[in-house]
Amino acid sequence: MVAASTRPRGTDMTRELVRIARGWLLGSVVAGGVSAVLLVCQFVLLAHVVDNVAFHAQAPHTQGRAFILILICLAGQVGARFASDMMGTRAGLRVASHVRGQLLAHLFAAGPVACADVAAGDIVTTFTEGAAALVPYFARYLPSAAMMVVLPLLILAVVAGVDGWSFLVLACTGPLVPVFMVFVGYGAQAIMDRRWRQLSLLGGSFLDALRGLKTLRLLGRAQGSLERITQLADAHRRTTLSVMKVAFLTSAALEFFSSLSIALVAVVFGTRLLAGTADFRSAFLVLLLAPEYFMPLRTFSASYHARQNAQAACRAWIRFWVLPTLARSYSGQPMQGVIGGVQCRALCVCRPDGMSVLHDVTCDFAANRLTVLTGASGAGKTTLLHALLGFIPVSVGTLEASNVSGHPIQLDGVRMAWVPQRPVMVFGTVADNLRLGAPDADEEQLRHAAAQADALGFIDALPNGFETHIGERGSRLSGGQVRRLALARALLRNPDVLVLDEPTAGLDAASALRVSNAICRCVPGRIVVVATHEQVMAARADVLLHVADGTVVVQPVRAESVA
């Protein structure tokens, strides 16, 4: 939780992530280096064999040893290359998995209220596709960046040992390539920047039209917009192409230098061979090595957009990492003693966007009492429940718990349970759903909790009892049954504080009565807080709190419910 403030941002983040997969990355680079050395050996041997066969009139079968050596180098080179790629992929996958774990941990620590502010789809795509975008960066880009230094230097060294002139040609053209690429790259970037608005507008136009498709249909303009889509796509093509034409110059520069150096080597060597001042073996070797000299640069520039994607992904992560984390943890230490009550003193709560929802709330939630919160929707009932559960930070005031003898206790140790208006029902059996919060509960405990929540009757009436499948989101159960099942699940954890949001909303009178009876039965030994619109529930209250205009007023409890 402390890490939230020290979390690195932007490009620093990728640097920190490198550390996680350092071993694999190092292995990848080393294997790549081995492969480069073997590749050069292989070419040296090949040049040797071709020279022997062509110019020293040696029959191929006398070259058996060289052939075998070439094959060994080949196998080694291919194997090392493969190992390098695979270790790179491992590094990438490892980083992605680490980042995913961190993101989930942070989101869980930020709590449901903060998460609700971010579109769930955003989180989901960042979790999956965003993490996947990091893989090519670590798997390809970083190793190829290292290889871009290793292989050309190695080839340069070999060429220097073979022939001075060719060394000069390669040593001069080699560094020019990155210079030109940067030069043209900046040019392309400048055009991109100038046309940024146009590019992003046109690039996003299809997405925009898809998002607004319902609006367009309601306006009766969907068919008309089809024409617009075509036009925009065409405009997008033209703008993109104008940028691409410049961007492609970078690869053209690469192509230019690599073609030029091959041609130069061939022509320069040709005249010298003719003059008898060079030998064929070195000429052939240099010709073999010249394309490989530029190869890593080409691989690197091909994986360049991996870096951009990774950085975009990192920017997306940061949006979630700035979400503040909650002070409370939910799998904490057991409580010290029996709960006596929770006191709110001059409580102020703001939404994540800074709007004040509750101010100056002072009230008590006492054990062995049914506390009912009423008030118009939007008045702040749910926010008060969220504050009680610790889902939203308290900006001013205090929220404290005490045991039966009135001594203050840690809120962290208080077991809380929550039954929202639409309780979550996982795909599986009744028992699976009950055990969601208590994986080790035995049959006896399940029956006991179900009986307390008035759910045992209907569960036993199901075809397979506790082992009956309840379908997608509990679709085989009625609304009232889902509520009672959720109540049983909450009771299975024997909570000190039980919070229910609109437990009887949308139920018919008979079901509502059963649910409210079950809730009343849970009151002994714990704090029970119910937020409701409905009279059925409010009539059973021991303490009635009315939420209005962001503050709480204690209301007299009706005489008949006290009786």
């Binding site: 071709v50 066969v53 029959a59 191929p60 080949l74 291919v78 290359r81 493969f82 790629d85 695979m86 992929t89 996958l93 992605a96 449901p112 579109a119 789809g121 989901v124 795509t125 979790f127 999956t128 596709e129 136009s205 299809f206 997405l207 898809l210 607004g212 319902k214 249909r217 309601l218 306006l219 009766g220 303009r221 969907a222 089809l226 075509t230 796509a233 192409l241 691409m244 690869s251 053209a252 073609s259 091959i262 041609a263 061939a266 040709g270 005249t271 061979l273 003719l274 003059a275 008898g276 000429a283 010709l287 394309p291 939910y330 799998s331 349970a417 979550v424 919060g437 679709s475 954890r493």
Partner: protein
Amino acid sequence: MAAAARWRLVWGVALACAASLASFGLLFLSGWLLAGAAVAGLAGQVSARAFNIILPSTGVRFFAMVRILARYMERVVAHDGALRLTGQLRAWVYERLIPLAPAGLVELQGGDMLGRFVSDTDKVAAYYTDVALPFARAALCGVVFVGVFACFLPLAALVLALGLLGGALVPCLSGAAMDRLVRRGAEKQSQIQAELAETLQNLGEYLLLDAACSRAKGWQTQQSAVDHARWMLDALEGAARGLVTILTFVTALAVLVLAAHAHQMGQLSVAEIPMLVLGVLAAFEVVTPLPLARQAAAEARLASMRLQMACAPHGAAEVVQPHALPHAPYDLVMRDVSFAYPKTVSPVLQHASLSIRQGEHVGLVGPSGVGKSSLINLLFGFYAPCGGSITFGGVDVRLLRAEDMAAFVAVVAQDFHLFAGTLRDNLLLGAPSATDADVAEVLEVAQLTRFVQSLPKGLQTWVGNDGLRLSGGQARRVAVAQALLRRTPWLVLDEPTEGLDAPLEQALMAALTWWAAGTTIVCMTHRTAVLPFMHRVVRVEDARFCPEGRAT
């Protein structure tokens, strides 16, 4: 447009072939030049002088230039063609999605799912540059390479042909496994996405049940299965690439042996031995990208499958032929209507009846989530009711197309969308022929005049995705103005005053009901301050419409 794209695609392949052939020529000729020069040099002064180095070195320079130019032009032309394909594909997809919206798009609505949809479209269009082009180039150039070899040594040509064929077969053989891995990875991934979305929605409960972490652990296991598929895919591609490299050098060595024998038999000159060896290395350059291309094919295939699935007809209401048009008076009569959204349990409406006469101002109230908004969906036929009948202007809505309905009913939906463009573009979207005076009038009604005047660029201000960020209340009033501008006999407003403070709410409703006195207004809201402006109020309760009589 289609013909232009087709020509560009053909040209792209032709230029790609030209670049590869030039590359082959460059190395082939360079090898010959070096060996020939060496032979001549060794043979002494006379033969060295007789050796014409000008012609081959001109050839080398020529091939080098052609390679540079052809590759650059190939990139430009091929990407132009691919972008044209993208445009066509977008139009095709869009045309199919129109009748499906919004019912068929519900699954795509979440967050960036639409973004994935767009990238799927692009991926399918990239099939040309990433898959078709490399394979076509390999096939065409391979034939030429083998032909060139055959001119020198038929046996070497045969070996090269076998080698190239083997190199092309490797990715094809691993293709089925790649397809499987890509599909399996995507399936698992979407499963994780669905579970993650569900958990985030119920995060509070999962946290309190202490079940969030165990679920997260479950995803990590599933995710490692996805990662494993990804790893296997990379391994497969890497292995295929390695195999092609091995094949390259084995072929080169075999050609070397054959060439040496041919030289001994006097069929081949010395200079042609290194030339053929270099030729093999150059020829395999067209085969090397094939494993990656095959992997791209697997991904494009999955993307196209997803596109086709998204474009397949869903459960939207189908318009019965022939179409009809509603006629005055435009009364809405709903009789005994039952409705539930697909894949949900609780019905939104159950044997609900409602009739609204033309000219009435009706407030539709009830807590959020009871299905006030479903009225819009039913009216426009976005969803079909499970039972009962709905008539508008004397015509069953099943006979009306949404496009026809739009001429009679203007809607401000809760999830309205402002498009990237100027404020003016957005206002005129539904009424292209409206005059400036009309616009000024509706802005006044929507209480936007002051706001627009405060903008430096006025109505030319850019809004939408990366434009000016309007507040929720401002954006909603823009949508109201947009609806008013259309001057339809009906006006359906879903929470028109959300995000407004009380005085502004009063002013807006007063101006609106005065301006549109003769228009039927249906106002869905949970704000009681709106109701006094209505003629009568209908409460949505227990999936029924319950009249509350005249508003106070």
